[in-house]
Symmetry: C2
Subunit: 378 residues, 2 copies
Amino acid sequence: MFKYTLEAVCPQTGARAGRFSTPHGHVETPVFMPVGTQATLKSVPHRPFLLEMETQIILANAYHMFLRPGTELVKKAGGLHKFMNWPRPMLTDSGGFQVFSLASLLKVTDEGVKFQSPRDGAYHFISPERAMQIENDLGADIMMAFDECLPADADYARTAKSIKRTFQWAERCQAAHARKDDQALFGIVQGGMFKDLREQSAAEITSLDFPGYAIGGLSVGETMDQMHEVLSWTAHLLPANKPRYLMGVGTPIDLLKSVATGIDMFDCVIPTRVGRHGQAMGLNDRVILNNAKNREDFGPLFDHCKCHTCQNYTRAYIRHLFKAGEQLAGTLVSIHNIYFLVDLMRQARKAILDGRYGDFLTECGVAYQPLTDSVAGV
Amino acid sequence: MFKYTLEAVCPQTGARAGRFSTPHGHVETPVFMPVGTQATLKSVPHRPFLLEMETQIILANAYHMFLRPGTELVKKAGGLHKFMNWPRPMLTDSGGFQVFSLASLLKVTDEGVKFQSPRDGAYHFISPERAMQIENDLGADIMMAFDECLPADADYARTAKSIKRTFQWAERCQAAHARKDDQALFGIVQGGMFKDLREQSAAEITSLDFPGYAIGGLSVGETMDQMHEVLSWTAHLLPANKPRYLMGVGTPIDLLKSVATGIDMFDCVIPTRVGRHGQAMGLNDRVILNNAKNREDFGPLFDHCKCHTCQNYTRAYIRHLFKAGEQLAGTLVSIHNIYFLVDLMRQARKAILDGRYGDFLTECGVAYQPLTDSVAGV
């Protein structure tokens, strides 16, 4: 049931506008996906706030749902959509990233990963087959293959070995995926900071003909320049007729630059994380609510912003809420931040459809160089 | 601009239906007022949740707003309605109760109260005149007189002395109140657990012809039986053509019983306080989300409840949110609890208008004895 349509490629850049359909409706790209780690967004009630701001798709974490409340319970509830009452498309990651970054790793073999839960010390084993079972139980519209995630400083030899394992795991994921009619499985390209390994991984993973592809292993500690260099090697190697998802990214500027290389989908916890700490996101700046200058500022977080927060509340009020330690503080700023990224991608899409994404980047203060046809990935 | 109309008195009990108008709209009674302590409800975004559940009026705390962010700031914002963007009626207490219960009291004289802020140790002095200035700055539709609040175990001599002071302060509040056209000042009857002192205080305070009256000094540690005994002495002494407000009460059963004695208005922090701790309120019972039996319960908190939470989420999901320590947990249960009390008063009002509030009490499982005419206060 998953179907992607490439609608336009901006002639000024490699930016793409597209759409894909899922059992829970269609998604227009480029798109930012807010992260609902534990079947809820931190600080933001998804009803009504995410629905009202026209969030098209959210991400949930298989790893977290596996540990708590357990995927069997979610399956009994009728899947994650029903469990949390989210009516629109949803994507689950495989848990790979979290297993490698959050848990106590005990043993990684070609078979899978044995780890200890950081919460209660319980032992768990996740293989590609187990990851597919978990994601099938959760029932998201898009699920991610189980891959090996290395730190940004992994050396060449280790990375070369790892992409081989990630490829084998991708094959096993594809074989084990039991709900191909309902759920689209995306493959993940790895390869660290090494151009030839990225190329090799892209060739291997795309040979499996997944309905969509992600670029993994970024936003793990490398510099912004490194990330965009890897992207410039990799994005155009992914087939033009499939959606391209850059995992775990990022800041507004990261999103805008990545769209120019042909990326379609993003997720990141930044908007709620910095929102809870009183930072309201703008394109190149942040409003720090704690700053004294906001004490008597009866204007919105950002002029002209159409989000629920900026339409209803002042900086002075939100600052008071932070000072008073009230929950609504983090809620309001997180709402603004999520809206900001969701809306930024809406604006990007419009600019692409109008054939002027390069101009849009310039208006946003982002330098860009027109890309060659091959890099644009058309 | 404040105007109260008594619409009906139930022939089976002393229960009253009425309405009052304010600069921010009218309020139908009996009514439950959720408490927005620090210009926000704990856990519940007032937009949209309180608006959607048709909360008619909320309460804010002058004491808390005085300490943080300071009433001068709120005044600059255009008053508390504008500061927190609440478009409907609002009531502020005078801070009396909080000064006597939360702050470090340094000296109480006929002039006023000197106290230290528990937050930063700063010294403050509040007199009736200062309290009126604070409440005038906040600009709520209803403001409360500054009174002396004693503990429930205060003896006769101390209470007798105190009601004298409360009366003198009420007179001074009335004289100092600078915005009589915009804001209705309610007097507060005290008198502890002593019938003759309650009668004396009621006679004194009502002699000042306030547009409404509150019964204070209850819900401070006395038993439920004591509280309802005091109410039975006091409620009918308040003029029938003015609204009657029982401060700081209470549980669903307390509300229902109090309405039967002729009370029109209530406020209490119970719904958000117990909500944050995972207790969903029913008439005579509470759902404890933490209980294991809710783990796989895919039904709502309460069958047939029309609140946002019960219409959208299951016990299993909300329990998961509590287990995961997610903010949405307390939000959802608090929404249910507030709705429950707001709606309970709506149902009570309908029963009163239908002349069957006694039957309604029976249906709710509350024993009642038909009251005499004098007690009914008609």
